[in-house]
Amino acid sequence: MSEERPTIFVVDDDASMRDALKNLLRSVGLNVETFGVAQEFLSSQRSKAPGCLVLDVRLPGLSGLDLQRQLAEANVQIPIVFITGHGDIQMSVRAMKAGAVEFLTKPFRDQDLLDAVQQAIDRDRAARLKQAEAAELLERYESLSPREREVMALVVCGRLNKQIAGELGTSEATVKMHRSHLMQKMRADSLADLFRITQKLGTST
């Protein structure tokens, strides 16, 4: 799974600040896209590469905090690093509670911003991986026949083959066959492995 270079999206209404942020982030080898207003970012096409949003709190029109809320409502999961000219505690608490990675006050130390951005990228990457894994597991699950799904549900509930055969009104040998097929399809090495997979499926679907 070859990964694209991370892209950082910068939204700040101040041109100087935009240029400076772009300059700094580029100097450490990151892709940067800048926007002057929140709406511009919302309507832009974003790549599949991991990345994060560096967002000014005070923006004309839709404010940074508004944008954060809209993204959450639209189920767009992109980590956000907030920057502000003069932040107050209340504002930063709000932003952090809503899932921001960091809340920096201008002027900030470059390392602080770069650390925050790195942390955000890691977070995004992890989220993407988790998402990809969940999608993969779901695919496996969907390859099961209805009968295999029934058997799997009973297996993870801890039933013995005999019990399952009784419950489904079939022979123990047939249950064994289904069980072997579904372990294969789900790529589970052991019963414990199957448990783990179904748990992941349960949380991501």
Binding site: G85, H86, P107, D110
Partner: protein, 650 residues
């Protein structure tokens, strides 16, 4: 009664009774009435009354002269002290005696007043011997007394000066009608003269006698209301007269003309006088109004228009300045029966051009035969000038002074208030900080990026680009600083001699609502013997605004009932003035008091720490000093002193 009424010292005089020949009027052959001429004359009179009431007596005399074909006609009016008659109007052959005055008990007119009815006298000099020398001699005089509210006013009379003219019963009838008219006319004339006098009165003496004038205005208003009622009564009389005409001149198609004239007369009577009148029907739709009403409204509504309900004004306000919807006006309340009538209510009318008139309203319901309210009459009277005079007097009272100015300010400068509020020192500092902070942050970030471009495997091109950005942003920051400097530059200050109290009151007016919202009681105690200071009104206003807003914020955490803010001024030392703002807030740690005025020092969660710092710069630029001290009780007092203006500011 004969001899006792002869004038002492005139032994040759005949008795008073023998000069009275009233009884003869009915014995003489009488000419037939000329109702048409009389009617024309009455309409002409009413027009004069409505148009130029000061000419009404003259017009009445002319009418009497013409209708009776008399040789002379005129008025003898009782002077206010009741002891003398004077003749403001005499026309015809006797015109040379106009303006003459006689003692009440020495002339024929008083005897007529006593008898309370029109009288004819023949050759009165036979009894009143002092008239013997008066030329031309009086052959006959027909004298009609008239009264206002039961009080004798004077007489109207016609004379003949030789035997060719003898008055008859028809003359008596005509004169009696004119006498009735004269009473109303007289009051209208007095009233209009009164208004003229008032307009010309010297303002200073008016202020001095303000109480007295107020009382007089009250009286004259009542009198004017009475005139209106008299006028309406006169209308009934006139209509009765019309009915008589109708009966007597049956062959003429009089009905329509009479009706028209009756309406016309009503219209004219309606238009006279200084009182504005309008009427509404039961649903409040305006039926009628006079020109004075339209004048006060500043507009002319359309009678009968169902949109014009309760009042013809553009907008109404209560005396406290709040907006009064038309359907909550006194007229609406009377029509709905909520209150039986309105006596001397005060309402403020706003005209379409924005000007305002203060009026006293008197509303009486009109009831139909079933006793239900069928409409109402509203008499209203302009008291704007009187209110203004009151206001001027109040202005002299120190405590009221602030309120009056604040009200005036609020009315005329509501727009300015919003702008100025946005430009308080604190706001200014915040926006300055933001403006400067952006390029500074950008510079730091670019510089750090530049270092990274030069790290390990240097990228000289990118490093150069970074430096170009730094130069651009550096220039931008210095541009911001330059603009602020220019803004605060001494040259741009508008120095003028100022009453610091005025400046404080301006500031108070701007924040009064805000303080109210925050449940802060505001006390203004300004000393009225302060010398003027030399300064920039706007800057000093912003300092005071800043102190007030700081004080208000310091009390945010204090219980509602004990938030008190005092704005005070007093003399300081020998020449200086002191302005202090005292709050009852949380105060300040003693060690911080000296740091309060330093830039970036703040105790407020969202403060910039710039307001007091800039305030200090402004005060020091004015040659003054600013400091703070903890109160004995809770809270803090921040005050500044300014030197008084010297005569020749160098």
């Amino acid at each position: 009664m004969n001899s006792c009424e002869t004038i002492p010292g005139n032994e040759n005089a005949v008795s008073l009774a023998s000069v009275f020949t009233t009884a003869e009027l009915n014995r003489r052959p009488s000419r037939s009435p000329d109702f048409a001429a009389e009617n024309r004359a009455l309409v002409a009179l009413a027009q004069v009354m409505a148009g130029s009431p000061d000419r009404i007596l003259q017009k009445l005399a002319e009418t009497a002269l013409n209708l009776c074909r008399a040789h002379s006609a005129g008025f003898s009016l009782l002077e206010l002290d009741g002891r003398r008659f004077y003749s403001p109007v005499i026309i015809g052959q006797w015109a040379c005696h106009m303006g003459a005055g006689t003692l009440v008990d020495s002339g024929p007119f008083a005897t007529v007043l006593d008898r309370n009815a029109p009288q004819l006298m023949s050759r009165p000099e036979r009894h009143f011997t002092h008239l013997a020398s008066v030329k031309p001699p009086i052959e006959e005089v027909l004298i009609v007394p008239f009264y206002l509210e039961g009080k004798a006013i004077g007489t109207i009379w016609v004379m003949s000066h030789d035997e060719t003219l003898r008055f008859d019963a028809e003359d008596l009838r005509v004169m009696a009608n004119l006498g009735a008219f004269a009473a109303t006319a007289y009051q209208v004339m007095l009233d209009s003269a009164e208004r003229l006098r008032e307009a010309n009165a010297d303002v200073a003496s008016r202020l001095a006698q303000i109480e007295k004038v107020n009382a007089e205005v009250q009286d004259s208003r009542r009198a004017a209301l009475n005139v209106m009622e008299d006028a309406l009564r006169a209308r009934e009389i006139a209509e009765t007269l019309n009915l008589q005409l109708l009966n007597e001149v049956a062959e003429r198609r009089q009905t329509e003309a009479t009706l028209r004239e009756s309406k016309e007369r009503y219209r004219i009577l309606f238009t006279l006088g200084p009182v504005a009148v309008y009427s509404c029907d039961a649903s409040g739709v305006i039926r009628d109004f006079n020109p004075r009403a339209a004048e006060l409204w500043g507009r002319t509504p359309k009678p009968g228009d169902t949109d014009e309900r309760f009042c013809g004004s553009y907008k109404l306000h209560r005396p406290d300045g709040t907006f009064m919807p038309h359907d909550q006006s006194p007229m609406a309340e009377v029509l709905s029966g909520q209150i039986p009538e309105v006596r001397d209510g005060e309402v403020h009318i706003e005209r379409p051009d924005g000007s305002r008139v203060v009026v006293i309203v008197n509303i009486r319901p009109l009831k139909n035969q079933g006793g239900e309210i069928a409409g109402a009459l509203n008499y209203f009277f302009d008291i704007t000038d009187r209110k203004r005079a009151e206001q001027e007097r109040q202005d002299l009272e120190k405590r009221e002074r602030g309120l009056a100015i604040a009200t005036a300010l609020r009315e005329t400068e509501a727009e300015l208030a919003r702008v100025a509020r946005a430009l308080t020192v604190g706001e200014l500092a915040t926006s300055i900080a933001h403006e400067v902070n952006q390029p500074l942050a950008a510079i730091v970030t670019n510089a750090e990026a530049c270092i990274r471009w030069l790290d390990k495997t240097p990228n000289l091109h990118e490093a150069e680009e970074s430096l170009a950005l730094i130069i651009r942003d550096g220039n931008r920051a210095s541009e911001v600083i330059r603009r602020i400097r220019e803004f605060l530059k001494k040259d741009s200050r508008q120095l003028a001699p100022l009453d610091i109290n005025d400046v404080a009151l301006d500031a108070v007016a701007l924040v009064r609502d805000e303080l109210l919202k925050r449940h802060i009681a505001l006390r203004v105690e300004l000393s009225d013997d302060l010398p003027p200071v030399q300064g920039d009104r706007i800057q000093l206003q912003q300092v005071i605004l800043n102190l007030i807003m700081n004080g208000g914020e310091a009390m945010a955490s204090v219980a509602d009932g004990s938030r008190e803010l005092a704005v005070m001024s007093q003399k300081f030392g020998t020449d200086d003035v002191l302005m202090a703002v005292r709050d009852s807030g949380t105060g300040m740690d003693a060690q911080n008091i000296d740091r309060m005025f330093d830039a970036f020092f703040t105790t407020k969660p969202t403060g910039m720490g710039m307001g007091l710092s800039i305030s200090r710069s402004i005060i020091e630029a004015h040659g003054g000093r600013i400091w703070a001290a903890l109160n004995d009780g809770p809270g803090l007092t921040v005050q500044f002193s300014l030197p008084a203006r010297t005569e020749n500011p160098s």
